[in-house]
Symmetry: C2
Amino acid sequence: MDIRADIEALNAILSPKSVAVIGASTTPGKVGHDIFANILKGGFTGILYPVNPGARAVLSVRAYPRIQEVPDPVDLAIVILPPQPALQAVQDAVARGVKGVVIVSAGFREVGPEGRAIEDRIVALCREAGVRVIGPNCLGVINPTPAVRLNASFSARMPKAGNISFISQSGALCTAVLDFAADRNFGFSKFISTGNKADVDELDLLLYLHQDPDTEVILLYLEELRRGPEFIRAVREITSGDFRPKPVLAIKSGRTAAGARAAASHTGSLSGTEGVYNAIFQQSGIIRVESIDELFDFATAFAYKNESELGKLRRKVPTGNRVAIVTNAGGPGIVATDMTMFSGLELAQFKEETVETLASHLPSTANLKNPVDVIGDATIDRYENALGAVIRDENVDGALVILTPQSMTNVLGTAEAIARIARRSFKPILCCFMGVIDVSAGVKYLQDRGIPVYKFPENAAKAFGALYRYSRWLNRQFLAEYKLSFDRERAAKIIADCLARGKTRLGELDGLGILEAYGFPVLPTKLSRSAEEAAAVAAEIGFPVVMKIVSEQILHKSDAGGVIVGVQTAQEARQAFETILARGRAYREDAVIEGVLVQKMASAGTEVILGLSRYPVFGPLLMFGLGGIFVEVFQDVTFRLAPIGRNEARRMVRQIRGYKLLEGFRGRPRGDIEAVEKLLVSLSHLAIDHPEIAELDINPLLVHPEGRGATAADCRMILKSQNAAA
Amino acid sequence: MDIRADIEALNAILSPKSVAVIGASTTPGKVGHDIFANILKGGFTGILYPVNPGARAVLSVRAYPRIQEVPDPVDLAIVILPPQPALQAVQDAVARGVKGVVIVSAGFREVGPEGRAIEDRIVALCREAGVRVIGPNCLGVINPTPAVRLNASFSARMPKAGNISFISQSGALCTAVLDFAADRNFGFSKFISTGNKADVDELDLLLYLHQDPDTEVILLYLEELRRGPEFIRAVREITSGDFRPKPVLAIKSGRTAAGARAAASHTGSLSGTEGVYNAIFQQSGIIRVESIDELFDFATAFAYKNESELGKLRRKVPTGNRVAIVTNAGGPGIVATDMTMFSGLELAQFKEETVETLASHLPSTANLKNPVDVIGDATIDRYENALGAVIRDENVDGALVILTPQSMTNVLGTAEAIARIARRSFKPILCCFMGVIDVSAGVKYLQDRGIPVYKFPENAAKAFGALYRYSRWLNRQFLAEYKLSFDRERAAKIIADCLARGKTRLGELDGLGILEAYGFPVLPTKLSRSAEEAAAVAAEIGFPVVMKIVSEQILHKSDAGGVIVGVQTAQEARQAFETILARGRAYREDAVIEGVLVQKMASAGTEVILGLSRYPVFGPLLMFGLGGIFVEVFQDVTFRLAPIGRNEARRMVRQIRGYKLLEGFRGRPRGDIEAVEKLLVSLSHLAIDHPEIAELDINPLLVHPEGRGATAADCRMILKSQNAAA
């Protein structure tokens, strides 16, 4: 379906000219009654037709026994009927020429195969007719825009019109959010409960809202996605493309639920669905929030546009992270300073002329440095002059204004002064008016003008931090891609050979071969099957060597004492061979020990881990993190869905806390970071080219000093086959 | 001053029978008018006397020119006058026999030396008379208890009476908190703004509120403390002693402000004031919260007591961390499950009979496992039966009940059912009613009965987590102390010798000597001054050895390439000596190189860091964390103020994330954890016995496998002397 047709179909649902409510009821308390009543009382600007074979009218509106009898064209059919009659109703509606359908009723896919079959038939017949369906099992849709005013929902409360749209997979949450929004004087553009997502899903709606001129910020409550790489590509365009980029904020629940996934690799056990969703959010530029409060806090800041004076409206996103704080109380100023730091921001250093300007306007007891303390008895003038001075400073990218109501404080007047300054600047100004009732006039004044205002400084500072993160995303650099080439055939051959032999758990011998084909520097490695052979092989490779057990049953070799490092002589090699064999047998009686690997000792480097696992729907998930034994203790890892290029690899490497170790630190040389980035891109190609690789840990990859590359010192690979699970 | 007299004096301030407002004014808008009006309109149950030499009456109440003229005894004088007249007023008040003074006016210590002098004189004269002073520069005090009803504050709003007391160092925050509390239907027992804390400080008030029968939970907003070890000792008794333990929740701001402290040691640079306050909170059992929202969320849970049926009131603190969730919506149930995990809780596993009971009461589509989903159309019965069943289960320590208003939901009825069950159980039941207005009747019903109710499941789960943390604190084990002995004289001698030589930065030679005297196992170490000597010393000690540069100018030896490990032969030792010297000179031209240390190579172990720094007022601060190069990357460290004993040392060791490494992990043996605990206690003694040691890093301390102790492999020590700063 092309995007134009899609927009038209969704327009028919979200901004219809005429609506038929099939299953409209005359009995208060019934869903079919309440939804009809809500649309009617909400002041819908189009025409409303109740459809009910047993009623002459519903709430004084003439009813029709079937949609066929409705004398005019109908854009949207809202269906509130049990599954079987719903199917009939949708058939009738499609025949009647509706452009969109919303099915509110439950009892479909979520209750079992029968419901699912009906749901599938409904979707099939609508798709054929080019009609889109929202639901079933949803709360409905709301469009409070004055030109439409459609409240097709359970909720008696029509929210204020605004420029924020909300898509929710949970109906229960919708109700709570509407209540909460009313409490915070929050306006919506579109409000959509997706329910079972039988047809229309988040991505359809995101694409629609991207085009919607009334939507500036998109909020998403998510339980699961059914599209991965496609979702990333499309949403990346929405959040940062050339055409009207719009911020998308998401809450994703179900974080720990799938945490217990049993997996044979570190990557597998660390990733979980949490890893997948974090990857999707990062790669698509979605800003993840942790709570409903935070969702509202951030949305307010993102919806904030200039009230003009400077010409065209523009979103107030800071171009840097240097924040000025103006406050009339010390304590909250300290809190704001703290949170500023925690949110990735900096306190701006004022220019000399700014300090002079502040000094000329403020009393001698005021603090002229950032945070600027205009003192408890501050009047409107003092706020206006101080804020005006700091916002003009070239070293300031935005401001937080904190007001605590004190006896001299003119709350409304200060709000007006802030708005005057905000109108003249593109820099974001976020306010914190501390108090609920005493400050209400000022808060309302600011809210009505879209100027973000919070109850506590920590919320304002965190919201500013989110604005800055979005600005960094919008303005990210694009480095030219690496030119890399791989020996795809060689890797494919090793994989095919292993699978032919029924071997699905690959150790270093085969695994490093595959990695080598994709440009990973590996260490000279040979298998020995006797103590004598070990000594000979070691001599050939050159001392010192590392010796490691080879057994399909022993994946975590060091757990079994199966690794001996620093073997210096032939005699030591013989002895190490015997020791490793004895330990392996003691560790697991049934282990089939193929022999002992003799490997050149790697030169020193920082240990990192590169990994790969796969998820249904989402495909290959890449992991990067600090390696060695620290991977499990600190779980200092980050994820991306393949394919990734150089730029995404760069962000991955820079994202972990342990990046500091790679940067060079306390006499340690800077690591070869570019080599790691290249290898991440190589890993992405490997993952895409060879779907047989189900899981892979390269742990450790030793990152040598700058210019000296990196070495894959160990790896563990699981190939996909019938018995790969375990 | 003994505690009885103190309580009486503070009683006179917080529950006075008669109050004189000195500086009461007839001019609305003036502080002296507003505070008088607030007390009068607040319905104070005692007698109120305005004192004003120029007015016959204030708000129709007969005024007195001076407090001496007041015909009856006066308990409390509230002073609203500039510093100089305030001093006179306090003199008069004390002469008149008042028992307590609150000075609201500003202009004292916070504006300069003159103000400070007056403040000091006021305190001195009050102390002499046994009169206690709150303020100056504060918002006042409030006691909404029906027997008192004193609103001696700027705030026109008298909060509801309740069992939570609030102590704030920031007046600005007080106003905001009062507004916020009104919004959340929150009741207070005492509300105190401490201002400059010239006399009465938090600790005085904490001790008072501990005794106060109307206070169940104490909230603290803190900017700085002026007492350290004393505070810890006293508050530990309040939060977990035998006499009526009460939870103390604190917000501390100013977290990043002092982060930039320049320090010569890791411990010094990592600790900052943040380290000190975290230590104080942990050692005294104060629960730190991150925001005002969280303060209210947690306070509600802690104030929650049984409404009887089970006899005496008891705080509802869970005895374990196994939570049952009952919800009528899937999404919020998932969120609650997530947050439960994040908050250190577990989902309870129900017993078979519980599942049977649930099955008999719930429809077949309900989820009988935890979280229990009673389905969207749940009636009162279904909630009551499900909650009743899970709360009776021996495997359940408490419950979260989630309600989202849907068409069938009887919100008030469900609240009543929850209250019925809560009355019969000591297990905490926390509720989440999602929505602001639709659920208001139920929310109010629960609030009025003290049953915690939240807007979102994440808040409820976090509050439950805080209750559990407090339960763990209340029920912590006390292991018998170690019997340790130290060679205090030897350490004192080394320190005195160094100071005599003007040496304040001690390397390993002297430092390890001091540590050895306190029971730290150290490595055989000798200084060599020539390549030949190095070879000889190394042979004497036995190969392999480590060689390290010795120079007072080079504190971070590895930064300078001044450490060579694994020296195996005399020839290598000679060569290493020359290399180290060359590198040291290249690193810092002016470095005076004393020689090269030759040290026995330590046997393998997990690297941890033990450290010591000192703060004015608070004294020695001990640090423990993961050592080596990871200390700065992950800052996985924890702090305590000395002295500590075995139990505190135990908690320190178990608190860091890297504890997993010490526990044994992936084939690594379990480390000698008890040895580390003993050494932490030894370090505490060292810190107390030798105040000359200003800073100390033992990094790394190598923790060997269980039973094999730990070795101090390197140390850095700064002694206190005139030029120790730098």
